[in-house]
Symmetry: C2
Subunit: 257 residues, 2 copies
């Protein structure tokens, strides 16, 4: 099924779960919706922190068609699940946001690690949380983001254990995709970036690290959400974890050389 | 001399000419200053057209220290020459913009092709306008930019003649630098992108194309200025051609893998 077919199923309520594994090879996107008054600062924050917040598309204020990365889509209905935050508190989880929509909202679509995980798998590098059928482990770090306006806070990273022999290749493969988080932020020693216990992620699930494997950390698309929660805007709407927007763009189109 | 030393000389009026050849190996930046009311749309335009408008830094509204890419600099005094445009018309050329400064201005610093030209030279690929000591030839094309708000118009490209045997390497070398225009937009046939006469550039100077060479076209940092002129904002301030802002960042730091 094409990305458009899957979006139609989601819109019609026939697909309500996580989007991982659907439309393989097509990029999926994190969603963040903010009021127009915060849009410049948030876009600037993303521009200053491209590894954590790689922007795939921004919809014109008040509009809901992400035409830059999809055709015929409606951002208000085409994700399986949304979260509504007010003053940083989760107040609702919904399957469409028609009731919350207003003309002063701006939608940001942010690159997702699914894209570079496909590239790792295509290079025969195991992606542990896929093998173990759980969520990727994510950690708050002591690596500060570069602030913009009201937006500031720590970088969140995702961790994948990589065999020592595969580390160089993992750097090469993911470096090709700067618009979907790109190269790792850190290789090895979790303490060096403020992670005390690698078996206790702040978000997602813990995964096995085998002998001969090194934890490798990539900037995570949860960062902008974590930071927006931290600064408590009046209203913020996001996708529910794992319930992403499926784009019409093949992962490989984001490859730089 | 360090970039900071050169900026001090410029601020003190001891260096008033073009910045090409100064602080070799350090990135230089195009400047665009707009009123805050246009800042979100312009940043969005840049985000949607990253090859033509690769943002190196955006200064917080009303501030004039480009701390993201330099230390101790003042954007109002540290370029050798500025141009003041009102409603799209050039009304003044000045050596500082202290008289034009106000708290509702936002400064955008945009990547410049000097960075990837150094990379080409380091790979023994001739850069013709440097050899011929003139300005790079630039052309308006029929390649539309992706609009954002009021900003829209054609992409401007720069042209460098490349030996057939060097074309692959030129693509590889410049692809490494997506934040300073990156890979070419087009190779060969000028007519295909709306250029009728390769010997008559719209901006800059004509250069020799030898037998066995192919014209190669890169997105040009003149694009955002040409487009801002096209849409005629009340006020826009830019660098004067060739009179760039010298950053503290080495070119090589912009290399992706």
């Amino acid at each position: 099924m094409s990305p458009a077919d899957i979006r139609t199923m989601i819109r019609d309520g026939q697909l309500t779960g996580p989007t991982a594994g659907h439309a393989l090879g097509y990029a999926q996107a994190n969603l963040a919706i903010l009021k127009k008054e915060h849009a410049f600062d948030f876009l600037l924050f993303a521009q200053r922190n491209p590894k954590a917040c790689p922007i795939l598309d921004v919809i014109e204020p008040g509009d809901f068609a992400p035409n830059g990365i999809s055709s015929g889509a409606d951002i208000r209905t085409d994700l399986p699940k949304y979260r509504i935050y007010k003053q940083g508190e989760l107040v609702d989880e919904v399957t469409d946001i028609l009731d919350y929509w207003s003309d002063d909202l701006v939608c940001f679509l942010i690159g997702c690690s699914f894209s570079f995980e496909n590239a790792l798998l295509n290079n025969d590098i195991d992606v542990r949380h896929i093998t173990e059928r759980c969520n990727v482990p994510m950690f708050k770090t002591n690596i500060a983001t570069t602030p913009a306006g009201m937006f500031e806070g720590p970088t969140v990273v995702s961790m994948r254990p990589i065999l020592e022999k595969d580390i160089v290749r993992a750097v090469q493969v993911t470096s090709r995709f700067p618009s979907v988080h790109g190269a790792p932020l850190h290789i090895g020693n979790p303490q060096a970036i403020g992670i005390d216990d690698i078996s206790k992620p702040d978000f997602g699930d813990s995964v096995t690290i085998h002998d001969g494997e090194v934890p490798v950390f990539w900037a995570c698309g949860v960062t902008p959400q974590a930071i927006a929660m931290h600064v408590k805007p009046e209203l913020m709407i996001t996708h529910a974890p794992g319930h992403m927007f499926i784009t019409d763009i093949r992962d490989e189109h984001f490859g730089i050389i």
